[in-house]
């Protein structure tokens, strides 16, 4: 009996590596600490009522933000582990299997559990406020999206201590990810972690598309909409078209592994290349899904901090929509070297380069927004200015990669690694940071400290260039990705060591930058400049017209809009002595909190965990729980309520220090 338990435990828990034991202990201690703090301060009820069951888009956004920063930490630690292993040739810091798991989880976490939720955080925190709406179209669904994401992310991260991490690369190409070559449960964690959070992402795409199409303030025509909202629309449309493909692809991979189907296996007629096509049909749009909202953020920030309306609004909208369409026709550039015919390669090479056209146009439009403006360099603008050169270089190397015959030499090399980190860090991360610093006072009511912010910005930037510029060179030296070791151990010394060392130093500088950011946040919570006006940056769009943080119903009175930059215009009118018309408060229709999204997501987690280990006694009750949750929702009719006028008056008076 005891032997059986010991046997089970040694396969169930990941063992054998001091790093993992260390992580086990710290995870355990942190969990105990959190439970203790919640109990000691009697915060359980508060947590349940204010956060877990909330359907308020602002709170959901904050939860997304916290989760994504935690995931940035986890993915960042993965990155530093990798860079440490590669700092010197023949390094013995990580074993091959461990290294392979680390680069797999690094990629998966950074794209799916860091970039996506950080993006959804900004969607949630900003879009309804920018549109003059009281919430998203489907608040209940929104809460469900968040909890599905979180449960998926938890399930994925659990693989670190239970069962073993996936180690077949962030896109899990078969046949390597098939049972024959990855017999452990790691790939199952990968599939179910992404699958569960993917349902949430799909729902968010639908939710924000409907919100933007139908919930805009009266008078806000599509072509009067702030550009960030446009970028969210573009991104949502791409989510709707791309994520179903991912769902199917992972489901088929799971069928291969679980019931022995033969979609992507080597034997009995399976076709691994089909997986590669399918995963990139999702994967390529996916990178535009995360980068387009960053473009939207830059448009808002550049305009605000240049005190000038955005240059070429129509071009900006058109170019975003063009990118979102063309991004569905470029997927094969990820495998020019997979034996496609010359015609196919030429088609995908040119379609990829075509994306460079609207992207280039956007850069010029940002530059000319600043031209003849008045530029103040606060943190959001600083990140934007850091973004432009970084993204221009990253974009240029992207165009170089699109040149199919040359790609035969870049493919799978560190040149490629440097390129996509440059567009993903320089574009997406810098963009979301710009957005985070920009909207932080709106969300929390205080600014993040400027001085610490500048430190972190420069450390991030210097670290970035020191880390990734050498990697372009390493690509030209023939270094391929995903090598856990190099140098004499492998039989060749090709002189990769010095540049790898420099790159590692750069990575640690970025790690330091992140620590400064964490310090900045904790410092600013205590001492940050409070935002009493609701409009700390002299903003242009509707979110700045209400107090910070916004009341739970957002707008006491739904604003009526006449043009772009609605709030800017109102302020100009006020300066010119035009008084706003008197308003009349009316009861506000609001959705009620619900525990169902949380419970249902927990049931998904249970089902997912059961499927990972092939425990049907666990998976089936989990799925039944999901079904019951959905039915319970269907039978709930008491889903909303009205906020009465006197409560609105009291809230507004408290927030603004005066009546509306």
């Amino acid at each position: 009996m005891w032997e059986n338990i010991k046997d089970f435990a040694s396969t169930f828990f990941v063992t054998g590596d001091p790093l993992i034991y260390g992580a086990d202990v710290s995870i355990g201690l942190t969990s105990i600490a959190i439970l203790f703090v919640l109990t000691y301060f009697k915060k359980w009820k508060w947590l349940w009522r204010e956060w877990i069951t909330t359907v308020d888009h602002k709170k959901i956004g904050i939860m997304y933000l916290i989760a994504s920063l935690l995931m940035l930490f986890r993915g960042g630690v993965d990155a530093l582990l990798m860079r440490t292993q590669l700092a010197l040739p023949n390094m013995k810091f990580l074993q091959a299997d461990h290294y392979n798991a680390v680069f797999t989880t690094h990629g998966t976490i950074m794209i799916l559990f860091m970039a996506m939720p950080l993006m959804f955080a900004l969607f949630n925190l900003v879009v309804p406020l920018q549109l003059g709406a009281r919430d998203v179209a489907f608040p209940f669904l929104n809460s469900m999206s968040f909890w599905l994401f979180l449960m998926g992310a938890m399930l994925f991260n659990l693989s670190f201590v239970i069962g073993g991490s996936p180690d077949a690369g962030w896109l899990s190409y078969p046949p390597l990810s098939e049972l024959a070559y990855s017999p452990g449960v790691g790939e199952n964690f990968y599939i179910w972690g992404i699958q569960i959070s993917g349902i949430g992402s799909l729902a968010t795409g639908i939710n924000f598309l409907v919100t933007i199409l139908k919930m805009r303030a009266p008078g806000m025509k599509m072509m009067k909409m702030p550009l960030f909202s446009w970028s969210v629309l573009s991104s949502s449309v791409m989510i709707i078209f791309a994520f179903p493909i991912l769902t199917v692809t992972l489901a088929l991979l799971f069928l291969d592994r679980f019931v022995g189907a033969h979609f992507f296996t080597m034997d009995l007629g399976g076709n691994p290349m089909m997986y590669v096509n399918l995963i990139w049909m999702w994967g390529h749009p996916e990178v535009y899904i995360v980068v387009i909202p960053a473009f939207g953020i830059f448009s808002e920030v550049v305009s605000t901090f240049s005190k000038k309306s955005i240059f070429g609004y129509k071009s900006m909208v058109f170019s975003m929509m063009l990118i979102s369409v063309v991004s569905f026709f470029t997927w094969a550039h990820h495998f020019f070297t997979m034996g496609s015919s010359a015609n196919v390669n030429v088609f995908f090479a040119i379609s990829t380069m075509v994306i460079g056209i609207p992207t280039g146009v956007k850069i010029f439009n940002w530059l000319f927004t600043m031209f003849r403006g008045r530029i103040t360099i606060k943190q959001p603008m600083l990140w934007t200015l850091g973004f432009i050169p970084c993204f221009v270089v990253g974009g240029a190397t992207g165009v170089m990669l699109a040149v199919a015959p040359a790609d035969y030499q870049y493919h799978n090399s560190y040149f490629l690694i440097a390129h996509f980190h440059q567009v993903l860090i320089g574009g997406v991360v810098f963009g979301y940071f710009a957005g985070m610093y920009y909207w932080w006072p709106k969300v929390f009511g205080f600014k993040l400290d400027e001085k610490l912010g500048k430190w972190s910005f420069w450390l991030w930037n210097i670290g970035f260039y020191v880390c990734f510029m050498p990697q372009y060179a390493l690509g030209f030296m023939g270094m391929t990705r995903r090598l856990y070791t190099y140098g004499s151990d492998t039989g060749w010394d090709l002189g990769w060591a010095p540049l790898n060392m420099i790159s590692t130093v750069g990575a640690f500088v970025m790690g330091l930058a992140f620590i400064v950011q964490v310090w900045q946040i904790s410092y600013s919570i205590r001492k940050g400049e409070r935002d009493l006006t609701g409009d700390p940056w002299n903003g242009r769009t509707l979110e700045w017209s209400i107090p910070s943080p916004a009341p739970f119903y957002n707008f006491a009175v739904v604003p009526e809009v006449e043009g772009t930059d609605a709030w800017w215009k109102t302020k100009e009118d006020l300066k010119n002595g035009i008084k706003p018309a008197p308003v009349k408060l009316e009861p506000i229709h609001m959705p009620k909190n619900s525990a169902i999204p949380f419970i249902m997501s927990v049931c998904w987690f249970i089902a997912g965990f059961g499927f990972v280990f092939g425990w049907m006694w666990m998976a089936i009750p989990g799925l039944v729980g999901v079904a019951i949750s959905l039915l319970a929702r269907s039978f709930t009719y008491d889903t909303d309520y009205y906020v009465q006028v006197d409560e609105i008056e009291r809230t507004e008076a408290a927030l603004r220090g005066r009546t509306v």
Binding site: P175, M266, D267, N271, P272, S306, K307, K308, I310, Y313, F335, T337, M338, G339, S341, A342, V346, A349, I350, M353, I357, G360, V361, F364, L367, F368, T369, M370, R372, I375, L382, L385, P389, A396, T397, V399, M400, V403, A404, P405, A406, Y408, Q409, S413, N461, I462, Y465, M469, A473, F476, M477, G478, R481, L483, Y484, D489, W492, L494, G495, L499
Partner: protein, 306 residues
């Protein structure tokens, strides 16, 4: 205010960054950049293309960054800045036409050179000599090379005659990999059930680095191989040597070879005649179209004639 210097700091950063790389590169020696040190016609075409497209991209990147620095400096928000301020100037047909036009022209140029070289490299290198064929199989974690015309086989070592076009046929009997000899030309995937084709040629005798470029599991990092290019006469001698002094690769021997392991170089004087086609067909080759060989579906027949 020190803010006004931000643009300059940014430029400095980039300049310092590139100076660092160039400095280190010079220190390391240019010949370490094997991708740019072409030793054969295929790699040469690609190297020229890399240089050309790199230059074109630089020609765009540098002015844009310069423009950014200029604008940020010129229109900074300081009390006595005399530069014009036009908060409502946000539209210009002329300017927009220019910057839709510039990228379009650049993409047309790049598109043309891309198409030109893609079609060029789909064909074998032009040469007076008769091409030879080498059948390559990626295994966990080693490379098997079969010479169908010479009837010898090697592991993790491939010798080719200098100045002769080599037609590599690539497949895999393990998770897919990618076959890459940077100095001779770009890589191509080796896929189970497929017989891919990659033309390469070494102009002069020499030793080159070959590697598996696509992650294939635990000991992927050790999946590199030696490529030696020798004059035709030396190559012929080497073949004879292998023929006379090495063991045969049997079917059982192959099964053993295919098991996951790392391995030093091996040489075989013979191998089962249908080994390569069997590998391709058992992994799904019967369903595949075999590229330029024939567009008809059906069993892979292992033809070695282009």
């Amino acid at each position: 205010m020190k803010n006004k210097l931000s643009g300059w700091k940014l430029l400095m950063l980039i300049v310092v960054g590139y100076a660092l790389i160039i400095g280190v590169s010079v220190y390391l020696g240019w010949d370490k950049f094997i991708v740019l040190d072409a030793k054969g016609p295929v790699a040469e075409v690609q190297q020229k293309l890399i240089m050309l497209t790199g230059m074109i991209c630089m020609a765009v990147v540098i002015p844009v960054i310069g423009l950014l620095v200029f604008i940020v400096w010129r229109y900074r928000d300081t009390p006595n800045n005399k530069a014009p301020y036009q908060p409502h100037w946000d539209d210009s047909k002329l300017l927009e036409t220019i910057w839709w036009g510039i990228p379009i022209v650049i993409i047309i140029i790049l598109g043309v050179v891309t198409a030109r070289d893609t079609y060029k490299l789909a064909k074998p290198p032009v040469s007076d000599s008769t091409p030879i064929t080498i059948q390559v199989t990626s295994l966990d974690w080693k490379w098997l090379f079969q010479y169908p015309d010479q009837k010898i086989a090697t592991v993790n070592y491939v010798q080719i005659p200098a100045g002769v076009p080599v037609r590599f046929q690539l497949t895999s009997d393990a998770p897919m990999n990618s076959f890459w000899i940077p100095q001779l030309g770009g890589q191509e995937y080796s896929m189970p059930g497929m017989a891919m084709q990659l033309w390469l040629q070494a102009d002069k005798p020499g030793t080159y680095y070959g590697s598996g470029a696509n992650f294939s599991g635990r000991d992927f990092a050790k999946m590199n191989f030696v490529v030696e290019s020798k004059p035709q006469a030396d190559f012929n001698t080497w073949v004879k040597e292998v023929k006379s002094s090495s063991p045969k690769l049997t079917n059982e021997g192959y099964t053993e070879l295919a098991k996951p392991s790392t391995m030093k170089q091996q040489f075989y004087s013979d191998y089962p005649a249908t080994l390569y086609t069997d590998i391709v067909n058992k992994n799904g080759g019967i369903y595949m179209k075999h590229g330029s060989e024939s567009m008809s579906s059906g069993s892979y027949n292992g033809s070695t004639k282009p």
